[in-house]
């Protein structure tokens, strides 16, 4: 049986915590598998926006991947709730959205926030996540 991790590897860097918030459970499941597969991230998934802020306080993620359009509550509201707490006020948030204008898409930001337009490829996703949680990255 192939184990996912090699035995004689140097001590790995501490895993970064990623909170994935999306109402689509299928999607969060795939994102979680991809992130975990790298071995560098610890992932928690929230499928209901109302639970996102509370999960963030408990989990204290290094990054939040946040869906913009969710039933009952959109990504902007969730981001506001997360930043309302001192502990998570500076946590970087990467928005995942299906609805942006071409110009917004070209700029890659909405209202100054980093975002990823769905559908995003595995490479792009990992690249953006890595950039946001890397030690050199500016911690908000």
């Amino acid at each position: 049986m192939n184990l996912p991790m090699p035995v004689n590897e140097p001590a790995p860097a501490p895993r970064r915590r990623i909170l994935v918030v999306d109402d689509d459970a299928d999607l969060t499941s795939v994102v979680r598998m991809i992130l975990l597969d790298t071995g560098r991230y610890e992932v928690r998934v929230v499928n209901h926006p109302d639970l996102a802020a509370k999960a963030a306080l408990q989990f204290l993620p290094h990054l939040v991947l946040l869906d913009v359009m969710m039933p009952g509550c959109d990504g902007g509201d969730v981001a506001t709730q997360i930043r309302a707490h001192e502990a998570t006020a500076r946590t970087p948030i990467v928005f995942l959205t299906a609805a942006v204008t071409p110009e917004e898409a070209r700029r890659g930001k909405i209202g100054g926030e980093v975002y990823l337009e769905k559908p995003v490829s595995r490479e792009k996703l990992l690249e953006v996540v890595a950039a946001q949680v890397s030690p050199g990255a500016q911690v908000p």
Binding site: L27, K118, P119, R122
Partner: protein, 891 residues
């Protein structure tokens, strides 16, 4: 027995002697006593003296005392024998003095009885003889002097011995001719002949007449006729020649003149077509001029034939009467008659006779000059027929026809015109002027026109003017007047024609009013009116009918083609068919939506509706109807349809984008995850995962485009130089072009007017257009070239830019994008801008790009069109209305 004598006795002795003689002899009838003193103081003589046959005078104190007394007696009593009685020894006057003054003298003693008688009678006889001789000599001298014959006596040697006084008029002083050569003055050409004649006369003694000419020193020529007679000498042999000649120069001249005149007359009569004849008093022909051959043939009339024979029987007696009257009165009369030709044809002749008289002044012949008037009569007849025809014609015409002379007087008018001014017979109007038959104001108006026509030679055509009928009605007439010219071109009057258009005008006015009302009503409804005479093809299009297409009243011909020519080529057959179907009865109503060309070159959608008026057989005679401009309505409808479509698409896109993207995201990330598994690195699994990834990307592209299309917002427009925007887009495309092997060219016109654009949206448009061009050239084997050009067109239409753009007061800025690809199939062209329409293979085109481009252009008030270029490839043309920096529009 001797008649008794009366003696005038002067002086005593004379009385005594006379008394004694009377007493004794008885031969003395009477003694008249007198004295010479009676002569002293008076001029005349006592009355009784004149009765005396002879005068006896004595030389004594009571008689004549001296020679002077004798002279006095002699002068007072001329022609009477004067006998002087003298007493012997008493001679106071010498005897030779007495004899010189008296005819005879007696001595008193001897003067007795018979002696005195004898002396007196002898004296009387002698006196009478002397007087008679004197008278005869005087008479002879007078005759000789007046004789015009040239009488000469010529010697044998030809010298003149005598020349009569008549020679003075020919050769000068007859006395000077004595002894001169009688041949000297004869014309050299005649001299030889005359000398020969002279010699022959002398030889034979028989004189012959000879004619010759005198050539005078001054060069004049006299014609002489003479005859010689030989005068024998004492020996009986020819001695002299008595020549009697006559100057015949005058006669010769007259004869020459006569001959010339006859020649002249002959020439004239031969050349003349007039017929000249001379007949005797019975009408028999004496002479006929050569022109008679026209009537009688080459032979001419038979001489002395009856000149009345060929006159038509019906005219013959009349002409004979005229002839006799002419002879009788000497006054010629002109007469016309028919002349029967031998072949039975008739000619008309007009003749006039002149009486020719003989030397005594009695009528002897008649000269008749005739002229063949057949042609003239026929022409006159034809003219009369024509005139009658014309007269009938113009009298039948309802129009008013008139001819005026230069003074405005009617020369010819027709019945209608005469009735107009109150006459039944047109002739009654002749000679009158407008002022006599029309009210003054109208007459002045007509006269002014007449003067323009006749004065300046201008034609006055179709002048509408009022006229007053005699019955008081005011009429309107349509008048034309043209100058009437004589053959030499000068204006001699005018010809006029007026037509009563009162009724027509009334009808026209009513029609116009009714039409105006209709027009007003229909115009209120925004419709144009048309009326088409199917038979003549004439049409009426109301001003608004034309106005809705941008034309003025006179810019569209009022015919069927005036409409048909404006129809869009694609609509023509359909329009014709619609009309035909209505005519045939296969459609109950005529209703047609078709495009008509506006004056600005664009097409307008017009709804035509109409109704036909048909004849008994159902054939259409005319058709009328209306036009409604549907363009705006159509545009609005199109916009509404477009908006509805956009609405639905926008809604759809927004929903779909979200709902589809999440599953897509799951699939894509799932595929990516699986692809990272070692078992999926190659083989079927790897291939399958690649296909799944492609499918997910394709779905994403569609969604993305839909979303782009849906999220279009109102442009954030601001004035820009379009060249800058184009340059930006070109820069963005440069890499793509390079990769696709396409040469990129740009021709940007300098100094374009600013246009209001949202440059981000335009970049998107250009990206779509460029992308399409690259795709079109992807499989092209030709040189791949993308050419971008800009330019602008001034306001209105025209210029060298695209002409399909709607009007813009400030003009248009345009961009043309040419490629060298495969072009666009013609059947596809009308649909290329439709949403979801694509010709690209599945997975390459969404059918959204050009629809989006058009949407953006429309939001800018511009247009986008695609056409195939003649040389191959397509041309996309974009137009943008020029921003007008008008201060009046500022708030």
């Amino acid at each position: 027995m001797n008649p008794s004598l009366r003696l005038l006795c002067l002086g005593r002795t004379a009385v005594e002697v006379a008394e004694a003689a009377r007493t004794r002899g008885g031969w003395c009838a009477e003694v008249i006593l007198g004295t010479s003193e009676a002569l002293a103081d008076t001029e005349g003589i006592p009355a009784e003296w004149s009765r005396a046959d002879a005068v006896v005078v004595s030389l004594d104190p009571r008689g004549c005392r001296d020679a002077e007394d004798l002279d006095r007696v002699r002068s007072r009593l001329p022609g009477r024998p004067l006998v002087a009685v003298v007493q012997p020894g008493e001679l106071s006057v010498a005897p030779d003095e007495i004899l010189r003054r008296a005819d005879d003298y007696l001595v008193a003693d001897e003067a007795i009885g018979r002696t005195l008688e004898r002396v007196v009678r002898f004296a009387c006889e002698e006196k009478r003889f002397e007087d008679s001789l004197l008278r005869e000599r005087d008479l002879f001298s007078r005759i000789w002097g007046r004789l015009t014959e040239l009488v000469a006596v010529v010697g044998l040697d030809g010298r003149r011995l005598y020349s009569s006084p008549a020679y003075r008029r020919v050769l000068g002083d007859p006395a000077a001719l004595l002894g001169t050569d009688s041949f000297r003055e004869i014309h050299p050409e005649d001299e030889g002949r005359v000398r020969a004649m002279f010699a022959e006369t002398m030889r034979t003694g028989a004189g012959k007449s000879v004619s010759f000419r005198f050539l005078l020193p001054d060069g004049t020529v006299r014609y002489i006729e003479s005859e010689g007679t030989v005068v024998p000498g004492p020996d009986g042999r020819p001695d002299k020649l008595l020549v009697v000649g006559r100057d015949v120069t005058e006669r010769w001249r007259m004869e020459t003149e006569l001959r010339e005149r006859e020649e002249f007359f002959r020439h004239i009569s031969e050349a003349m077509t007039d017929l000249v004849a001379v007949v005797d008093l019975q009408g028999r022909r004496l002479y006929n001029s050569p022109s008679y051959r026209n009537l009688f043939g080459a032979e001419g009339p038979r001489p002395a034939s009856d000149s009345f024979a060929e006159i038509h029987p019906d005219d013959r007696e009349r002409i004979r009467r005229v002839f006799l009257e002419t002879v009788e009165t000497g006054q010629g009369q002109r007469a016309e008659f028919r002349f029967m030709l031998a072949d039975g044809r008739v000619r008309y002749l007009e003749s006039v006779g002149t009486v020719m008289r003989d030397a005594e002044g009695r009528p002897a012949k008649v000269l008749v000059v005739s002229r063949d008037t057949t042609e003239r009569r026929e022409a006159e007849k034809a003219l009369a027929r024509e005139h009658a025809l014309l007269r009938t014609l113009i009298d039948r015409l309802p129009d008013f026809i008139f001819v005026k002379d230069t003074r405005g007087r009617f020369v010819v008018t027709n019945r209608a015109h005469a009735r107009l001014v109150g006459f039944e017979d047109p002739n009654e109007l002749v000679g009158k002027t407008d002022h006599e038959v029309f009210p003054p104001d109208l007459a002045a108006r007509y006269t002014e026109d007449d003067e323009a026509v006749m004065g300046r030679g201008e034609e006055l055509l179709n002048r509408e003017e009022p006229v007053r009928h005699r019955d008081g009605r005011d009429l309107w007439v349509l008048t034309s007047k043209v100058p009437l010219r004589s053959p030499d071109g000068s204006i001699v009057g005018l010809v006029g024609m007026s037509r009563d258009i009162t009724e027509r005008r009334r009808t026209e006015r009513q029609l116009r009013e009714s039409q105006e009302r209709l027009e007003l009503v229909i115009r209120g409804s925004g419709d144009g009116v048309w009326d088409w005479d199917v038979v003549t093809n004439e049409a009426y299009f109301s001003p608004w009918w034309k106005g809705m297409l941008g034309y003025r009243e006179d810019e569209i011909p009022n015919t069927f083609d005036g409409w048909f020519g404006l129809i869009h080529p694609d609509d023509r057959e359909r329009s014709r068919a619609a009309l035909q179907a209505y005519f045939d009865g296969s459609t109950a109503t005529y209703e047609l939506e078709h495009r008509l060309r506006h004056k600005d070159g664009t097409y307008r959608w017009i709804l035509a509706r109409g109704v036909a008026l048909r004849d008994g057989q159902g054939r259409p005679l005319r058709m009328s109807g209306s036009h409604v401009d549907l363009t705006e309505r159509r545009r609005t409808e199109a916009r509404l349809r477009e908006a509805a479509r956009w609405e639905s698409v926008t809604t759809l896109a927004a929903g779909v984008a979200h709902e589809v993207k999440n599953p897509l995201q799951t699939i894509l990330l799932g595929v990516d995850y699986l692809a990272g598994r070692p078992w999926a690195a190659e083989g079927d699994a790897a291939e399958l995962l690649a296909s799944m990834r492609n499918a997910a990307h394709q779905a994403d592209t569609i969604i993305r485009s839909l979303r782009d299309y849906a999220v279009q917002r109102q442009p954030q427009a601001r004035p820009r130089d379009l060249n800058e925007v184009v340059s930006e887009s070109i820069a963005l495309m440069r890499y793509d072009c390079h990769r696709a092997g396409v040469e990129l060219g740009a021709r940007l016109a300098p100094r374009l007017p600013a246009v209001n654009v949202d440059s981000e949206q335009l970049n998107q448009v250009f990206w779509i257009v460029f992308r399409n061009a690259l795709d079109a050239m992807a499989r092209s084997t030709r040189a791949r070239r993308l050419e971008v050009a800009t330019g602008w067109t001034a306001g209105g239409s025209g210029g060298d830019g695209p002409t399909l753009a709607p009007p813009s007061p400030g003009g248009w800025v345009w961009v043309e994008v040419d490629d060298t690809g495969h072009g666009v199939p013609n059947d596809v062209l009308p649909r290329v801008f439709d949403l979801f329409f694509t010709t690209k293979s599945p997975g390459r085109g969404t059918g959204i790009g050009l629809a989006l481009a058009r949407r953006i252009l429309e939001l800018h008030g511009g247009t986008i069109q695609i056409a195939n270029r003649p040389g191959g490839g397509a041309r996309v043309t974009l137009t943008f209305p020029v921003t007008e920096p008008s201060p009046s529009q500022a708030p």
